[in-house]
Symmetry: C2
Subunit: 140 residues, 2 copies
């Protein structure tokens, strides 16, 4: 599916997000990641990058169901607006330093020095968006 | 288990957090909640309040494994510091308006008018802390 304009604006050129994956025993695993939106295909996809084969990467190989949450900085009446996306993920080999470099420029500034020049190719997690929820103009 | 001082400071008198529960089909469910720390017992517990029996409450009744993530506002070199807690949760009837009132005073200010005076007793989710992770001075 495609995200609406409010959701695209929230993610912008890159955002901090929590990524939930499922451990082999069925319990939840959470990490904070940078996320980018790829809206060039027939369906929008969220993309995160990993320089090494973290637990989240291994979890996705075992169970592709994930959730991504992005919390807005503005505060509304009762709770922070947030965008909650559930979907299915797949791991793609390589491409991590390039995406991390793009996201670091957005989220850390142009001179972050991250990732290092000798970073390994790593992995991308590409997430097919199946359901959009949360609190904010991206819902309903 | 007990949280260390850095983790206690991050939560303070109340914090925004993402709460992950497990849906009946094993997929992850995420919502943003306010969380308080109860450090009066032998083990620290995180407590959230709900005025109605949301999906997260029903999920905990089916599978007590949860994850709570609190993202710090400061930015470090590469990623925001965050506290990731996994544990087991139980639902307690009642007490929601009192806790929500305390948390609203901290997170929204003294005159938020939330929750309304006629709010139902609702539910508390009390989370036994089993593992602390993330990035920041609360780890290791």
């Amino acid at each position: 599916m495609k995200l609406n304009d409010a959701a695209r604006d929230l993610i912008g050129a890159g955002a901090d997000a929590t990524l939930v994956t499922i451990n082999p025993d069925g319990s939840p695993h959470v990490s904070v990641v940078w996320v980018a939106l790829d809206h060039t295909g027939a369906d929008d996809e969220l993309v995160t990058a990993h320089l090494s084969e973290h637990k989240k990467v291994r979890n996705v190989r075992g169970d592709d169901r994930v959730a991504i949450t992005i919390v807005a900085t503005a505060v509304n009446k009762e709770l922070r607006p947030y965008l909650s996306i559930t979907g299915t993920a797949r791991i793609v080999d390589g491409g991590a330093p390039e995406l991390l470099g793009d996201l670091a420029a957005v989220l850390l500034g142009p001179d972050s020095g991250f990732p290092p020049a000798d970073a390994p190719p790593g992995y991308l997690t590409r997430i097919r968006i199946e359901k959009v929820g949360g609190v904010g103009p991206w819902v309903g």
